[in-house]
Symmetry: D3
Subunit: 117 residues, 6 copies
């Protein structure tokens, strides 16, 4: 558990661990696996850190998860998300949630052109 | 209805309208409002087109909306999403959906540092 | 099982049973309980039948349940839902799904006036 | 922003603006678009105000959005929702959420009669 | 209402009623029906009490329902759920929520072998 | 990729790989991580294999994920789930989804006794 905490703080350049990972510490197997996965998935790749954090926030707002929204708003801002980026992100999240239900409610069939081969 | 269809095709540079907007044509008020909102929200701003389309896709995959996933995968690819970008997007979407439930299941309290003033 | 099927057909004034209740027939306890609850809940009360069916459809579209959307669109229309009523219903469902995420994403606090005593 | 606030108060016949729209004020484009859409969608049409508010509440309870539930319970009551109407609304919302999962869990196929042409 | 409260306390072997059923007391019909259903559904059958409570908790964590998570964590522990059982439960819930979105996002087709006859 | 496929087949005692992992093969990093996590999480622990598969199915039915429902119904049956166990599982899933919305819709406050220290 100590080793995971140290890696969390080193990777993030902080001297504290947030409540999410403290809660997982009750289950060392899940703690280690979740942190390793998060570290691998959230590392910059072809998508940069702020884009990944905004995608994370889009999912969390869609799922209405208060803890996740609060923590990933903070990490997205730390990674460079400005007020204007947040505003555009939320506008897309809102609209996608609206049109998702319109397309299912209207029982829209998938266009042939959109089908994967 | 015709005017909206024309604007959809002109804005997108295509000669066809997808099934979603055809379904909404039964309700001209919703058709016009939804298209105007989509046009405004999805236009490049501080976030570019492919980032917005990926956020849209993140929401649609989270909501398990087959039509929206198919159509916005197509539009995200058209806007420049590569296989690798899609893979990273899905990895973040999957992980966020996992940790959203871990944080609620473990009843994690929001850290003071994450609270908005 | 036979008694429940007969009651379903009598209550609805039809000579057939839909696939949902046929599937539940594998579990007579759930079949009977679900039908009794549905009969009690969907019977006209201070809300009439078409209003109840539209609320059912609003939930089903929000949950993106294809079977439920198809079956309750049919029953709502049978109960009197017109094209225009459906259009207004879907517009509200879409908007509510949008603003639900905006309010959680923006971490909006509940106004004092909205709190229940 | 001021113009939108004034329109909100005039339309509602109140002298205050709720936290939701105050939060959106950080993004004038989303504020204006969301208010215009809400004003158009929630205005009485073939569905009256209280029916629309109850549909909104059905979606919000399904999505488990605390702010939306609190605010739209208040607006539904203002529009005429009684205790008995609320009770029947919640009973339908609960039942629909139950049967949505039974139909997907049992992998129920859509009846031919329910398919749209 | 009194009879239902008494039955709740007798069935549970407690001298108090939790807030959920107190809230439903505003609607005696829903109170009685919900309690009767809960009593029937949650009684040990081929699945024992702790397994049923863990399934209930899996759903509640997936839906991000704070009240349900708190109350059913308590009842699952009362029925015998240990820390280790809770940890394994949450790990499965997290993983299922992740792979649910990967399979929809990747538009995975159902294998022939998984199709029901 | 080959090594992961071989491990999937060896672990499961089968000579084929299902479409889910074939789809992930487009992204070797996600394929390996997802399989390793699934292998770790789904291995029998204090919860046995069939209990874990039923929890997985409870989440998938709640999220309305057709692929996941089909594949995990198959794997749960392979692990020993009988018709009666499935029936009781679905009854709990349905009821939990119903009461989750009743508790949020009625804005039920968490009982002091249910609060974690």
């Amino acid at each position: 558990m100590r080793a995971v905490y140290d890696d969390i703080m080193t990777t993030r350049g902080t001297d504290w661990v947030n409540n999410f990972f403290k809660a997982l510490a009750n289950d060392p197997v899940t703690l280690r696996r979740t942190w390793q996965s998060a570290k691998e998935v959230m590392a910059p790749g072809v998508l940069n850190a702020v884009t990944k954090e905004m995608i994370y926030l889009a999912v969390s707002a869609t799922n209405q998860c208060p803890y996740c929204i609060a923590s990933h708003t903070a990490s997205a801002r730390k990674a460079g998300m400005t007020d204007q980026m947040f505003a555009e992100l939320m506008a897309v999240v809102g609209m996608a949630n609206e049109t998702n239900r319109l397309s299912s409610g209207y029982q829209v069939q998938i266009d042939e052109r959109f089908k994967t081969p």
